[in-house]
Structure formats: C-alpha cells, structure tokens
Amino acid sequence: MSASLTLVIVMAVMYAAGVYVMLERSLTRVLIGFLLVGNATNLLIFLMSGRPGTSPIVTGTSADAAMVDPVPQVLMLTAIVINFGITALILALIYRSWWLARLGDEGDTVTDEHAAETVESTEESFRSVSEDEAASQEDLDASERGTETGPDQQHQHQQGGEGGETAGAPGTGMTL
C-alpha cells in the first residue's frame, strides 16, 4: 500500500493545531480542538483506504476493479454523525455552564478553584485522624501517670475535661 504524503502532512497539522487549542481552559476552544482532532482522525482512517479509485458502488462493469476499499468509509460515516452529536452536546454544556456561571466572558472557562479546597479538606481529615489517635494515646498515658497515692495533679484536668471537649465534636472526625 502507498499513501499520499500531502494527506499525511495535513492530518498531522490538524492534529497539532487541534491539540494546541484543546489544551486551553476555554470550553469553546476545547470544542474547536475537538472538531479539528475529529476531522484529523477521520482523515487518518481515510488514509487507510489507499489511493483514489471509483466509488464503492457495484456497477457490474470493469470499473469495479478500481473500486476503493469501502471499509474505512463505513467506519467514518457513523463517526461523522456521532462527531456532530458530541459537538452538539458540548455546545449544550457550554451554554449551560455559561448560564450557570453568570460570569460573562469567563462563563465557559473551567477553573481549578477547587484545588485549594481539596488541599484544605485533606489537611482537615489528616488533622482529625491525628487528633483521634492522640486522644487514644492520651487515654493510655493517663493510666500510667502519677503514683499509687493519687493521679498526677498537673494532668488531672486533662482527663476530666476530655468528656466535654470531645462530646461537642461529633462528626468532625467523620470526614474520612
């Protein structure tokens, strides 16, 4: 099999341009990138049918010998229509996110504001686990503190105050 270098190059250019825009934060650009990459992919499949020929419609004449491979065409036909459907879906997403975001020209932009929140909530759950553990350890230590004549005075308040402190915080440790 052979191929036309021109088609290979234009496919590569479309991939490059498509990926370049797809990596932006604007959903419209992502969609433009999707269109370009989609077309490039169709072209890649199309390349597999080889050199040009006659259409894959049986005529019963000698022209049928020059017929191109119809299999890539079948794959692409549905791909084209599905590409259209997905494009419409992304457009609906863009509209919806713009409508919800009320942000004017930033409405169709994906941000990563949640990043800080994730860090915070992770820290929170770590802290909670560590505190649970420390409380557990404190209970153990309390039993060894002091002498036979009585508990160590300076630590006594901790043990006594614990009930009140922990009872007020149900749920904080349940974030995990």
Binding site: S2, A3, L5, T6, L7, V10, M11, A12, V13, A16, A17, V19, Y20, V21, L23, S26, T28, I32, L35, L36, N39, L44, F46, L47, R51, P52, P56, V58, V68, P70, V71, L77, T78, I80, V81, N83, F84, G85, T87, A88, L89, L91, A92, R102, D112, A115, V119, F126, V129, S130, E131, A134, A135, S136, D139, E144, E148, A169, P170, G173
Partner: protein
C-alpha cells in the same frame, strides 16, 4: 454449620429492628442463638473426642476449588465452645450493662451478634479462603464495635488503629494463604495440615500467615492496638479482646502447628516474639492504674505466652496450649466483665479512687478472686493446670536437646512472675480498702448483672479439679502433632520440676507486689523504649501524606493538565513504538492529484488559524473549512457517501454553533500565560508528528489483501444492494450501526436535559390558532399577516410561513420565508429519496435524515420556534423512540423466523418512477436510522434553538437563585 451461620446473618440483619421493639431485652433474645450453637457444638463432643470430625460442604466457586466447607475437629470444637459460650454470656451481660437510652444500641447488638457468628465461621471453616473471609469480617466488625462511642475521639482513633493493624496483617496473610493453597493444590485446611507443603514457597507462605496471626493476636510489634481498643464498651473487650478475636491468631497457629512447626523460622519467630510480648505486656501491665488497662496489657502478655505454647510444636506443648487457651478465655472474660461492673457501679476504673469495693460487693470480689487466681496460676484452678503443663513440656523439650525449650521456659517463667505481681496488684487495687479514702459509693445493681462473670468463674473453679474430663478430647488434637508424648492434664502430677517452678513464681510475684512502690520507682527510671504506637502513627501519617502529595501532584491542574498528561504519555509510548518500527510503506507519493495539494493547503492554513483567532465565530468557520476540505477530498477519492454526509453535517454544525454562540460573548476569554502557550505548542507539534508517523507506518503495515475484495459480492448477493457502504451499515455491520444510533439517542437526550434541566421537552410550542388553520373549511395556503397593517396599503402583506408573524419585525426576511416555503417540501422529498435509493446509490438513512434535519433547520431559521413546532408538532423523543424501535424491532423480527438477529429478508418489485426496487427488512432498519437522525437534529433545534430563544425572551440573561431554577425550568 452453614445453617447456623445463615441464621446468624439473618438475625443480625433483623437485630436493629428488634431492638426498636424490645429495647434492652433484645440481648436476651439474641443470646439464644450463640447459646444454641454452643449446645449444638456440645452434641458433637462424642465424635470429636474419638478423634473424628464432623464435616459439611457446599460448593461455592468450583473454578477456584473454593467451597463453603466446614469441619469440626477437636480444636474447632474447643474454639467453637469458647466463642459461642462466652458470646452468649456477654450478650446476656449487655442487657444490664447498657441503659435503654444508649445511642445506636441496635447497631451495637447486631454487630456483636454478627461478630459471634463470624468467629464461629472462622473456627469451623475448613476452606482456608473461606476462613480468611471470616477473618477479615471479624476485623471489620471489630472496627464497628470498638468505635461504638462515635462521639469520642479516643474511640474512633482506637477503632481505626485496630482495623488498620489487623487488616494490614490480613493482607499479608492473604498472600501466604494463596501461596499455600496453590502449592498444596487444595484449599482444605485439614489436607494442607495433614499433608504439609515444603520448600521455599511454603516457608514464605507460612511466615506471611504468621504475620497475620501476630497482628490479630496483638503480639509485639502489633500489640499497641489492643490497649487502645479498651476505648470500647467493656462487653466488647470481654468478648473480642479476651475470648474471641485475639484468639483467632492463636487458633490459626494451633491449627497449622501440627504440620508446619518445623518450618524454618517458625520456632525462632514464635518463641522470641511470644516471650518478648509476654514480658513487655506484663511489665507495662504492672504500671497501670486503670483496671481495664491492667487487664489489657495482661492480655497482651498472656497472648504472648499462649503463642509460645501453642506454637512450640510438641505434642505436650500443644495439649498445654489448648488448655491454656480455654483457661485464659474463661478468666480474662470474667475479669473484664467484673471491671465493667465496678466501672458501672463506682463510676471509675482508676483503682486509686476505689476503696472498700471488696467489702461491699462480696460476690463480685469472689468472682474476681477466682479469676485472678487462675490468671496467676494458683492451684487448684484451671490456669494453674495449664501453666504447669506448659512448663513441663518446655522442660521435656529442653532435656531432649531443644535449645528453644530452655529459652521458652526462662522467658515464660519470668513472665509468670510478673503475671503474679500484676494479678495481685489488680485484685488489691480493685477490691482492696485504702485507709486514706472513704469507701467508694456503689450504685445498686441487679444480682443478675454478675451472672455472666459468675458462670465463667465457676467454670474456672470446676474445670481445675475436673480437668481430666478435658484431657481426652483435647489430647485428640494434641496427638495430631508429630513426636508423641504422654502428658495428661491433671491437677496433681506429684513433686516435679514444674511444681517447684510454680511455687517459686508465686513467691517471687508476691515479693514484687509487696515491694510495689520500689518496683514503680524502678519502672519510672527505665527510659521509655521504642513506642510501637508512635511508630504506627508515623507510618500511617507518612503513608497518608505521601498519598495526598501524589494525588495533589497528579490531579490538581484541571482539564488541560489531565489532557496534557494523557497526551504526553501518548507521545512517549506511541512515539517510542514508532521509533523502533522497521516496516515502512514501499512507496510514498507526494500527492494523488495536484488539486489535492491545494485543498490540503487550505485545510492546513484554516486549522492553524482556527487555533489562533480570538473571535468564536471566526474560529468555528475556520474549523468548518477543514470539514469542507474533507468533503472535497472524499469526493475526489471515490467516497460519495462520505462527501454527502460530511457536507450536510458541516452545515448543520455551523448552524448549531451559531445558535449557541449568539448568546456568548464574541471573544474567547484569554487566561493562558505565554509559558503555557509554548508548552501547549510543543505538545501539539509532538502529537502531530507522532500521528503523522503512525499514519505512514499504518499504511505500510498493510501487506495482505483486505476483506474489500469479497464485499461487492456480499453486498449484491446477500444485501441486495449495490452501494456497499450502505449495505454494510444496514446489513453486514448492522450491529455497529445499532450501537451508533443508540449513542445518538443518548446525545440527543443529553442535549435536551442540559437545556430543559427538569424534564424532557414534551410540550411543543404551537400557535394558538393552529387548529383553526388546519381544519378544512378555513384552510388557506397563505396566511394573512395581522402584524402588518392592511389599511392604507395597496398590497396586503401576507405571511409565507405559518408562524412568520411571531418573529419580531426587524428579524423577518421575506426572501427567506419565501425560499423556505418553496424549498421545504422538495427537500423532504429528496430526503426520502436518498433514504430509499441509498441502497443502490449514494445516500441512505444518515444522509436522508440529515437533509430532513436541514429542512427543519431552515424552517426554524425563517420562522422561529413556533414555526418549528408547527412543522413537526411532536416531541422529538417520540421520533427518536420510534426510530430505535424500528431498528431494534428489525433485529428481533428475524429471531421469530429462526434467523440470527438482524438477518435481512428481501422482496423485489418494480415501482413506477423509481424503477426496480429491492425492499428488505434492512430498509426498515435504515428508516430507523433516518428517524433517529431527524430526532437528533430536532432535539438540538428545540433545545439550543427554541429553548434558548425562550430563555432569552424571558429575560433570563442571569439565572435566578438555585431554589427557583427548577421551578422555572419546568414551565
């Protein structure tokens, strides 16, 4: 046995409900179940005493050789008695321990009952995989039970600690279990033990299993979870941490010992770890002022002792081991329950605040005394008998030349001295009278609160003298250990070395207790050794932090970051594959025909510009240029179907884009820093280069002739069509098409739901007077336009479309209206023609549907949403549904004629105008495709066209607060 487990599962599931009705009395009810299991196990005594076993098996996963098989031999019998007996007593005790207003009582009761069931399953299952499952179930249930006081930090911390440590051990053990089962070729524990596997793999397997056993039974270095778990309610400690869960590890070692005690590493690990644990536990127990923690560290110590004895691997040690296991379960459970009663009645477990408890609660003190004495090994109690047997077996082994015998003996004797000391200190602390304190006030309690520990104490007391009753059944387990021996469990063995040791231990222990203040000072001066609990904390926190850091590193950048990661991986892997590739196409031509270069150049420039322009609509049009370029390439390349479809799709895409973009700002927001731009460009160029290379390689990789040669014949003979592409879509590869139109339906529904939010758009916007225009007497071809003033004008303005006047005056175009009026019906006819003719000529369901869709687009563009409603006065969902019903129906119909799904049938006829037509079931399938495509376009128009119009007109430039959104969207 399987039945018992089923009842356990069922009753546990019902318990929360029962608790709601019965409150605390539920404990009496559910205690009946373990009690019944206890009774049932007793009926098996005769068979197991004779050395037999009761087995039962239900096939489960035959492919892996795993079955729900159960086998009760002596060891299982003993453990089953312990877990069901103590379980029943603890449940009875719970009825008095808790008050009726205890939070989450139902969950607790269910958890404890399920735990008893899981333990019963663990000790009776013969399949090692099933045993492992029960093993893990007990870990999970212990988490729920230890963490019962969910509002207490200490309780949550301890529960998590116990869970992590035991499941870590369990995970290690699973590896061992799998290796052992694979090496042995069976999952039956009985066979694995009776016919031991040897070799390096088996050694590793056994050592890994030991890690699981050590973690479950709280041996050093995993011991720290057990004292922490004292945050649990006392019944849990009495059951899980004295009789049941911690015994699982001991049980497993006892189970494997007959076959694997001579495995390399077994003896050094168990003896050193066991002795170490016994000493560490006892030493720390001696420091505690909290009675429950005295017992907890005491348990750690005793578990170390037990591990040494059951793992020692001689027949006599095994006998001593099982006796000790029973003795420990009885006295330790009783002691925990006793402490629970003291805690309940006095309000504290710190013995420095207790005084005169023994004087005021004599029965309780008696129970405590019997149990403590058994723990200390004072005759004539069961603890003494078992300990004596252990020492004797070590001495025998030592005399027989086994060095580990002496190590074990010295270690356990030292540990026993400390045990006596902390036992005495416990009893004195709990029940003694301190002159400097007034007698502790005790809340009154019902007599039956003491029932459970009382029964356990009586058993301890009676089984000492009556131990010969146990000798026969227990010996039948011990005899399975190779090597032989003739020791018998008895209270009196004459004057022998072990007796002297016992006497010495008691004396030394008493002396330690006597000098307890000096001991306490000494303990205070010993620097804190490495704290395993701290080590656990560092490990867990380290793992947590590392996991969080990796996650934050890899998953914080949002969509562009993730895409970059994927694409970079793509470039690296496929780029490498392309780099090492050695097969290239034989010939590469520069172009197929000169025109190709012009088209490609246009496409390339358009693609690059589309990526750079700032206006949305320009970018869309430029992307469209690449699409139309494809149309040209397809057309010149011999792909008329593709060219047709691509052209139609490209046109509709641009319209849909415009429908949405009219609401968005003109310019695309710019947020990217230049730095990122360069990185994006690099990734883009690399992806393009890799894809280009792959394209060339893929073309060259095709050496053999494809399936294309056979297709023309198949299309004509089997598919009765000359257009191979269409025949493949609706016949040869119809399953693919079916999947694809399903995707279209999902997409259409997705678009609609994104715009309508609360439901599908079932209400079609219609004109109020539309019924009038449709009824025959009023039917008019051209409707008078009331919006245009007719008076004073020579020509009465007429509306060319039904809903033309609903469009604002400035948006109307008479030219468009006329054109649409003229073209709509011919377009629909063409679409049907393409649908029917597509079997033999370019066309088909997809192209026909798209033409019809375009016709509808033109109606909407010219006349607005009411026009669209009048053009297709049905819900798009119905069209989509009808389409898929036709397609699926065709797939099913052939089944009724004993064909395979989607098999086609044909009949030929000659139709005037169209000529000879071959009509087949595949045509009906194609009609389904057609309808789905029309439905998709209609749904998009209704959503992104009509609904966006409506929202705009309703002044919804800004959304209202979320609470009102749903209500509005439903309108």
């Amino acid at each position: 046995m399987a039945t018992i487990l089923l009842v356990f599962a069922g009753l546990s599931a019902l318990t929360p409900l029962l608790t709601r009705w019965l409150s605390l009395r539920v404990f009496y009810l559910i205690a009946l179940l373990p009690a019944a299991a206890f009774g049932y196990t007793l009926t098996q005594t005769a068979s197991v005493s004779a050395g037999g076993a009761i087995t039962e098996s239900v096939p489960w996963i035959p492919a892996l050789g795993i079955s729900l098989s159960f086998r009760v031999d002596t060891l299982a019998w003993l453990l089953a008695l312990v877990v069901t007996g103590v379980g029943a007593l603890v449940l009875v005790y719970c009825a008095r321990y808790f008050s009726a207003d205890e939070p989450a009582l139902g969950r607790f009761a269910a958890g404890l009952l399920a735990f008893a069931g899981a333990m019963y399953g663990l000790v009776t299952s013969d399949d090692i995989v099933v045993m492992f499952i029960f093993w893990e179930v007990t870990s999970v249930l212990s988490y729920i039970l230890i963490g019962h006081y969910t509002f207490k930090r200490a309780s949550r911390g301890a529960a998590l600690q116990a869970l992590l440590v035991t499941t870590f051990g369990g995970l290690v053990m699973l590896v061992g279990v799998v290796i052992l089962a694979v090496e042995a070729g069976t999952t039956s524990l009985a066979v694995i033990v009776a016919d031991p596997v040897t070799g390096p793999a088996a050694t590793w397997a056994v050592l890994l299993i030991l890690v699981g056993a050590l973690s479950k039974s709280a041996l050093v270095p995993f011991h720290f979870w057990l004292p922490a778990a004292m945050a649990a309610p006392t019944p849990v400690s009495a059951y899980l941490h004295a009789a049941a869960m911690v015994k699982a590890g001991i049980y497993l070692v006892a189970r494997l010992a007959p076959g694997y005690a001579d495995t390399p590493g077994w003896m050094p690990v168990l003896v050193t770890v066991g002795v170490g644990t016994m000493l560490v536990g006892a030493w720390r127990s001696l420091r505690q002022y909290d009675l429950k923690l005295v017992l907890a560290y005491g348990t750690v110590s005793q578990l170390g002792f037990l591990m040494v004895v059951v793992g020692f691997g001689t027949r006599d040690a095994a006998l001593a081991g099982v006796a000790l296991l029973l003795a420990h379960a009885l006295f330790k459970s009783a002691l925990f329950l006793t402490v629970g009663i003291i805690d309940h009645r006095a309000g504290t477990r710190d013995w420095r605040r207790l005084s005169g408890v023994g004087r005021n609660a004599r029965v309780l003190a008696a129970i405590g005394l019997i149990s403590v004495a058994s723990m200390a090994g004072i005759p004539p109690l069961l603890g003494f008998v078992a300990k004596e047997a252990g020492f004797t077996s070590f001495i025998e082994a030592g005399l027989a030349g086994d060095g580990w015998g002496w190590v074990a003996l010295v270690g356990t004797v030292l540990g026993s001295v400390l045990t006596v000391a902390y036992s005495a200190r416990f009893f004195w602390g709990a029940f003694g009278t301190r002159p400097e304190l007034a007698d502790t006030a005790l809340h009154p309690a019902r007599w039956d609160f003491q029932l459970a520990p009382g029964i356990l104490a009586v058993a301890t007391l009676l089984l000492g003298p009556l131990v010969f009753l146990l000798d026969l059944p227990l010996a039948s387990y011990a005899d399975t250990v190779p090597g032989g021996g003739d020791y018998h469990l008895a209270l009196w063995h004459g004057f022998e070395p072990a007796l002297a040791l016992s006497a010495g231990i008691l004396l030394l222990g008493a002396a330690l207790f006597w000098k307890r203040r000096a001991v306490a000072r000494l303990q205070g001066t010993v620097p804190a050794y490495v704290d395993a609990g701290q080590g656990y904390g560092y490990t867990v926190r380290g793992i947590d932090r590392a996991a969080a850091r990796i996650t934050h590193f890899a998953q914080i950048g949002g969509l562009p970051q993730y895409l970059s990661t994927i694409l970079v991986v793509f470039v690296l892997t496929l780029g490498f594959a392309a780099f090492v590739n050695r097969s290239w196409p034989d010939e590469v031509v520069l172009w197929d025909y000169p025109g190709q270069v012009a088209v490609a150049l246009t496409m390339g420039i358009a693609a690059v510009m589309a990526a750079r322009v700032a206006e949305r609509i320009t970018a869309v049009l430029l992307a469209g240029v690449t699409g139309y370029g494809l149309v040209a390439l397809f057309a010149f390349h011999g792909a008329p179907d593709l060219a047709l479809t691509q052209a139609l799709v490209e046109t509709i895409t641009i319209v849909v884009f415009v429908l949405v973009l009219r609401r968005l700002p003109q310019k695309i927001a710019q947020h990217n820093r230049p730095l990122h731009r360069r990185r994006r460009a690099v990734i883009g160029v690399l992806v393009g280069a890799v894809m280009g290379t792959i394209g060339v390689i893929a073309v060259g990789a095709r050496q053999a002739p494809g399936i294309a040669a056979e297709l023309p014949r198949l299309a004509v003979e089997e598919g009765h069509g000359r257009n191979i592409v269409n025949v493949m879509l609706v016949d040869i590869r119809a399953w693919d098409t079916m999947g694809e139109i399903s995707v279209l339906i999902v997409v259409a529904t997705g678009v609609a739901s994104l715009l309508f939010v609360s439901g599908r758009n079932t209400v079609v916007p219609r004109l109020r007077e539309s019924r009038k225009h449709r009824s025959l007497p009023h039917r008019r071809k051209v409707v008078a336009d009331p919006a245009a003033p007719s008076e004073g004008h020579a020509v009465t303005r007429q509306s060319w479309l039904l809903a033309g006047r609903t469009v604002a005056e400035k948006d109307r175009s008479i030219m468009l209206e006329v054109l649409v009026r003229l073209l709509f019906h011919p377009a629909m006819i063409v679409s049907v023609y393409l649908l029917i003719a597509g079997h033999n000529a370019p066309g088909g369901g997809f192209a026909g549907g798209l033409i019809a869709g375009l016709a509808l687009v033109s109606r909407y563009l010219a006349g607005g949403r009411y026009e669209l409603g009048e053009a297709v006065p049905v819900d798009p969902g119905k069209i989509l549904g009808l389409g898929i019903v036709l397609a699926v129906g065709m797939a099913m119909v052939s089944l009724f004629f004993s064909g395979i799904p989607l098999e086609s049938a044909y009949f030929e006829t000659t139709v005037p105008v169209l000529g000879p037509l071959s009509f087949g079931t595949s045509t009906i399938f194609d009609i389904g495709v057609y309808l789905v495509v029309v439905g998709l376009v209609l749904d998009i128009l209704r959503s992104l066209g009509s609904e966006v119009d409506r929202q705009q007109e309703a002044g919804e430039t800004l959304p209202r607060p979320p609470s009102q959104q749903g209500a509005e969207a439903a309108v």
